[in-house]
Symmetry: C2
Subunit: 380 residues, 2 copies
């Protein structure tokens, strides 16, 4: 089966970083080899930088994708019967609520409509009325392109006694993340999002406070595979827990180092510039932001309402026939929006220029690519 | 970080198959792309062949390593309070017992000493005295090199009403596996063992009977990430569950196809021949099989007692300095045995010839490599 070069402009996986692709070749070491422990140590240090983690934070890769990162938080940091408060304003918030309930938590939710951000005041209200042990929130809701007001939510949580778990799947790696300042206790992402490494590992960070909570559990973590204690045996104690995907560690290491070398603020600017150009290119065609307020808009996943009359499935299929993939809506927004990934190697002017050129051909219109060039200037 | 070419003769990961290495390059598709669903369909069909699965069996890759395969069985097929009977004669049997208990099962065990196989009669006795819902057994106990008598254990389980879960991590792919004939309900392995694909995915097979048991659960599977229902949504219904590691799917597909093209009986012969040669080479140096009875010996992991006076750590370190890795014992056998992997691309005469040559240099002896050549004939 041969694979035609394909332009992935979905909200992940993003196009592989060249350094990650090259590093995949180095796969002739085992999970217990000293070179791998040295590599892991570098990954752990770089993850502390990625997340802005305070001293005492444990960082590691889970041997699974971002959803395992999500699940590991509930499995390790909530015990059966614990009250867990979850923000739900899209598919991934809803997924968190389902996972927490499966792990036996007593789940309460703070909700907002698709396309709207969660309200920090609603978290404060909910926290006042109970004995919440863990609060979980999605920083960027991939399904709708909403950026939740994480600093304000974190402020509402601080001092409540609850731990704070943050899904940083579409944000960490494409902007500075301040785990220390937020007082976040658990943060995770997926390798294939803002870092443009291959999918299959989930970078996590666990605060010292969360490690203490885990150590004081009354019952063992049901999820042996991602038990924080077992992970620390391997990542800190260098003793066997389970086999890790060494090739993916090498690739993630290379991609993460490239991201930090470029600089997280610079990457944030890059995503914002490309996003601004795409919006300027597409608004005259009748596309409009699904999230009206720019301050509530996720800079890394641009969700656009389709122009009246545009056939979602047929247009995306025509683009796909030209080897360009963009994503549609999920759940209630299916058929109504497109979601364009502006993460990692996806947030490159040349790639979006190509997308716009192909879209012009598919729709039989002109001008989109040149409007993009005007905004991006010499970058495009 | 540059990686020196390294010879992995441990019980996994095994040296990467060249076709798997090449396939890793094809990583520019997403988990929802039609080419990936087509690839997945071919993987599913080849897994049915690999496991000798009857009609109605669901096959898939878990997005994790073999331990996640192990855990998924208990998470999906046992409910809290269910009686689960587990064979324990080494580290991986013990791991199963721990996982099952964490998922709330009432665990009973059938045990044997390290280096000895489990007794089918003991399973029959244990099944007679209770209401066992699930029996779990390791086919080849990697930690000691014991081949458990799976056909006889399966016979003891058949008709009891219990499901049978088989850990085929060190066997499937290096010998024909007869899931249909055994009446096994859940089988799993790791990609990096007998198939010599990169670590990070776990090929599983779930019988129709096990799927029915899962569908009739009173409580949802705690482990959302590997819930059989969610996996079927993706693998059969082509709807989103979680991101899968597409690059590893391509690599596993290539390695699995290569294994089936070579032929499972032929691979069994290859492993046996190399193992016979290694034993003939090393016995005159004072190494002896940890499992005395050849019928109880795992053909894919040769466990050898060290000669009196041989320094385990120093000798393996000296080999490692020459870029050759073999594994020591685990738990009670640490320092007493070596474990040599004879799986997939590890079971190649040229590689073991090199190991023996390096070992001669390290120990200051001669003759091992030539004895190996004599047994292997033109193969070495």
């Amino acid at each position: 089966m041969t694979v035609r070069p394909h332009l992935l402009l979905t909200p992940g996986p993003t196009p592989l970083h060249p350094a990650a692709r090259e590093a995949l070749g180095g796969e002739s070491l085992g999970h217990m080899d000293p070179e791998v422990f040295a590599l892991n140590g570098e990954i752990q240090a770089d993850l502390r930088t990625l997340y802005g983690a305070p001293d005492g934070t444990f960082t590691a890769l889970l041997a699974g994708t971002g959803s395992l990162g999500m699940e590991a938080g509930f499995a390790n940091l909530a015990e059966p019967g614990d009250e867990v408060l979850i923000g739900v304003n899209g598919s991934f918030g809803a997924r968190m609520a389902e996972m927490a309930a499966r792990h036996g938590a007593h789940v309460r939710t703070v909700t907002a409509a698709p396309g709207e951000p969660l309200s920090p005041a609603a978290f404060a209200d909910a926290l006042a009325g109970g004995d919440v042990r863990l609060v979980a929130v999605v920083h960027g809701e991939t399904s709708t392109g909403v950026l939740n007001p994480l600093p304000e939510i974190a402020e509402a949580v601080r001092g409540s006694g609850a731990l704070l778990s943050v899904d940083a799947v579409t944000t960490a790696g494409m902007q500075p993340f301040d785990m220390a300042g937020l007082g976040a206790d658990y943060v995770y992402t997926g390798s294939q999002k803002c870092l443009s490494a291959p999918p299959g590992v989930a970078p996590i960070a666990v605060s010292g406070r969360a490690l203490a909570r885990h150590a004081a559990r009354r019952t063992p973590t049901a999820l042996w595979y991602a038990d924080f204690a077992g992970l620390r045996d391997y990542w800190e104690g260098h003793s066997y827990h389970h086999t890790v995907p060494v090739g993916l560690h090498f690739a993630l290491h290379a991609a993460l180092r490239a991201a930090l070398d470029e600089g997280l603020p610079q990457r944030q600017v890059r995503a914002a510039e490309v996003g601004r150009g795409v919006l300027a290119a597409l608004e005259p065609l009748g596309f409009s932001p699904f999230v009206p307020d720019p301050a509530q808009r996720l800079p890394t996943v641009l969700a656009l309402r389709l122009p009246p009359g545009l056939d979602d499935a047929a247009t995306r299929a025509a683009l796909r026939a030209r080897s360009v993939s963009v994503a549609g809506g999920m759940g209630p927004t299916a058929g109504q929006i497109w979601r364009l990934g502006l993460m990692g190697e996806g947030a490159r002017p040349a790639l979006y220029h190509r997308f716009l050129t192909e879209l012009e051909a598919v729709l039989g219109v002109r001008g989109a690519a040149s409007r993009f060039e005007q905004v991006l200037g010499t970058h495009a």
